[in-house]
């Protein structure tokens, strides 16, 4: 295995810039590693070997010709399959879009290309981003690089597994209720859900339009910041895009590495996101992280957000309602598969219903039916209307909490990675995985997930979630980079350096039950 794949994107960018390595070498090293391990990990739904190498060669040629390129030029990246790519299939993890190649790029993808990153391929996900384990992908689950019998989180399990298995230094994700932060927690990686409207949603296949946000996935806080700078900012093609000017997230992360960056920072611990139902090892690492922060001069304050208790309930009304409307576009006319009913007349309505029966998986059907119910006459006020009021209450809780604290922290997920099948039969058990991450989506505030150590009882990664007020994404990067530095100094290594080494032979042996 080449050492190049172990390097952070920031380091690769610097080496590419000084000419000590070429983009073709870096890209080939990652493609070779994908070839070696992805049969077992299954992070990718599509690998664009030829075009990645061609793009890398073109970037190398321009650099050789003396062109000034950006800090991530020539660095490979994996792209979640929810994002439209004009040169790669885009399925959102669903059979209904099998083989679809969109006629345009998502804005974030166009920005990656403009910044000369090298798209390696598309990553696996729960169908239409509905899930917390990738078990709802129509193309089979992704496996957690820390333990192949366990889930990599979801919906962006493919992107998180790709970076934590060293198949890519960077990836794009999307986060509607935790789909970037929860996979980061269970794979020992980093991910950020930006402020709602901070990153364009144009070309992101919509799940729930008032909650969805695209964001960076990486192994270090600085790498996420560098990627955030590439993809973020106003986009006239997204009418919910914020017209604000944003500071450099990379500069914010660098500021966090300076001495004393945590001194005087008020860190709010959300009482309601740290209690019963959390795995003991998660709670232990969380308490230790708070102690480290205190020692570094931060001030820990307890804050209460009483309405967070209702967040999961509100979310599972608002999300299905919006999803049932958004997914109405899969009508077997403009894109995707078409399936005719077995008998009876071929009308548009009957063809649409037969197509959706064949093309949607069980979780998608469940949420569309639930959303249709929540929006029906007679139930609308009691369910959807009430959920929207809870959203107001949760925003007020955040406002009150941010009066007392600069950032809020909680574990990113209540447990470490669970085993395949463990929660598949019980939808509510699956939904409760996102209890810590959902409030940020309901309020639109930014959230970051970063590793906070291995749980003593099972040796698997735990994650810390950090939240900031809307628009204060830079604060997350300063705080996150400072804390990451502190944690790694306390461990004496990065968390991912402790992950089992993946080799094709070893994988084969473990699957066969041989020694």
């Amino acid at each position: 295995m080449s050492d190049l794949i172990k390097l952070p994107a920031a380091t690769l960018g610097a080496m590419l810039s000084e000419g000590s390595v070429s983009s073709v070498e870096v890209t080939r090293a990652h493609l070779d590693h994908i070839d070696a391990v992805d049969a077992d990990i299954h992070a990718f739904l599509h690998v664009a070997r030829e075009s990645a190498l061609a793009t890398a060669a073109a970037v190398d040629a321009r650099r050789a010709a003396g062109e000034e390129l950006g800090p991530l030029a020539g660095v490979p990246i994996a792209i979640k399959d929810v994002l439209a790519t004009s040169d790669m299939p885009t399925t959102s993890g669903s059979k209904i879009l099998e083989g679809w190649v969109p006629p345009y790029d998502a804005t974030v993808v166009a920005r990656l290309r403009a910044a000369d990153l090298i798209p390696l391929g598309k990553t696996n996900m729960d169908e239409f981003a509905m899930g917390s384990s990738t078990e709802h992908s129509a193309y089979g689950p992704t496996r957690n690089p820390w333990d192949l019998e366990r889930i990599p989180g979801g919906s962006g399990g493919g992107s998180a597994a790709a970076v934590s298995a060293f198949e890519a230094p960077l990836a794009l994700g999307s986060d509607t209720g935790g789909s970037i932060r929860q996979p980061a927690a269970v794979t020992g990686s980093v991910g950020v859900k930006p402020t709602y409207g901070g990153v364009s949603r144009y070309g992101a296949i919509a799940l729930a339009s008032s909650l969805d946000q695209v964001g960076p996935v990486s192994r270090t806080v600085l790498d996420s910041a560098l990627l955030h700078d590439v993809i973020g900012g106003y986009d006239p093609l997204d009418s919910t895009s914020l017209p604000s000017a944003w500071p450099s997230m990379a500069a914010a992360a660098q500021a966090g590495l300076a001495d004393g960056a945590l001194a005087g920072v008020r860190v709010g611990v959300v009482k309601e996101l740290n209690g019963a139902g959390f795995q003991p090892g998660v709670t232990q690492r969380f308490e230790e992280t708070l102690a480290l922060l205190t020692a570094a001069g931060a001030e820990i304050v307890e804050v209460s957000a009483p309405n967070f208790e209702y967040a999961v309930a509100a979310y599972y009304l608002i999300l299905p309602a919006e999803a049932s409307s958004n997914l109405a576009r899969f009508d077997s006319v403009r894109f995707g598969i078409r399936v005719n009913p077995e008998d009876g007349p071929l009308t548009s309505e009957r063809v649409m219903a037969a197509t959706r029966e064949a093309g949607f998986g069980p979780e998608v059907k469940r949420r569309i039916i639930l959303g249709t119910y929540a929006l029906s006459a007679g139930y609308y006020d009691a369910y959807y209307g009430s959920a929207q009021k809870v959203r107001t209450l949760i925003q007020r809780d955040f406002d009150a909490a941010f009066d007392k604290a600069d950032v809020l922290v909680s574990p990113s997920a209540p447990t470490t990675a669970f085993r395949f099948g463990e929660k598949l039969a019980d939808p509510m058990a699956m939904y409760l995985n996102d209890i810590t991450t959902i409030p940020a989506n309901l309020a639109g505030v930014p959230g970051m997930g970063l590793p906070m150590g291995l749980a003593p009882e099972d040796g698997l990664p735990t994650g810390l979630q950090v939240m900031a007020p809307a628009g204060e994404d830079a604060r997350l990067y300063t705080f996150g980079a400072a804390l990451e530095q502190l944690l790694e100094a306390s461990w004496g290594h990065t968390l991912l350096s402790q992950a089992p080494v993946l080799t094709p032979t070893e994988m084969f042996a473990s699957e066969e039950g041989a020694v």
Partner: protein, 98 residues
């Protein structure tokens, strides 16, 4: 307990244009009863004095200049269609015979 029947789920499936098998309807009915029981707790705190929030960052009147800008070509727009007829999407009969 919520009163959600298999009949109701079949009706919702029709509204959502998804053919469901009788087994799927049975499963979904049980799921829906459980999920709706859990999410119904939103009504505990949603009192009449609380305004509803539909969107995290309220933006109003997002307009652009009324000028022609590049858009998809006919070929691009039709590139993903399951069936086409010249420059148009080809669809099954729109109206039922009934």
């Amino acid at each position: 307990m919520s009163e959600i029947t298999a009949e109701q789920v079949a009706h919702l499936a029709h509204l959502a244009r998804i053919d469901l098998s009788p087994e799927e309807i049975d499963h979904l009915t049980a799921d829906l009863v459980q999920i709706v029981d859990s999410v119904a707790k939103v009504s505990e705190v949603a009192t009449p004095d609380i305004p509803a929030t539909s969107h995290p960052m309220p933006l109003t009147n997002v307009f652009r200049e009324d000028v022609v800008r590049p858009s998809l070509t006919v070929e691009q727009a039709l590139s993903g269609a399951p069936a086409r007829d010249g420059d148009k999407f080809r669809v099954p009969a729109i109206l039922d015979e009934e």
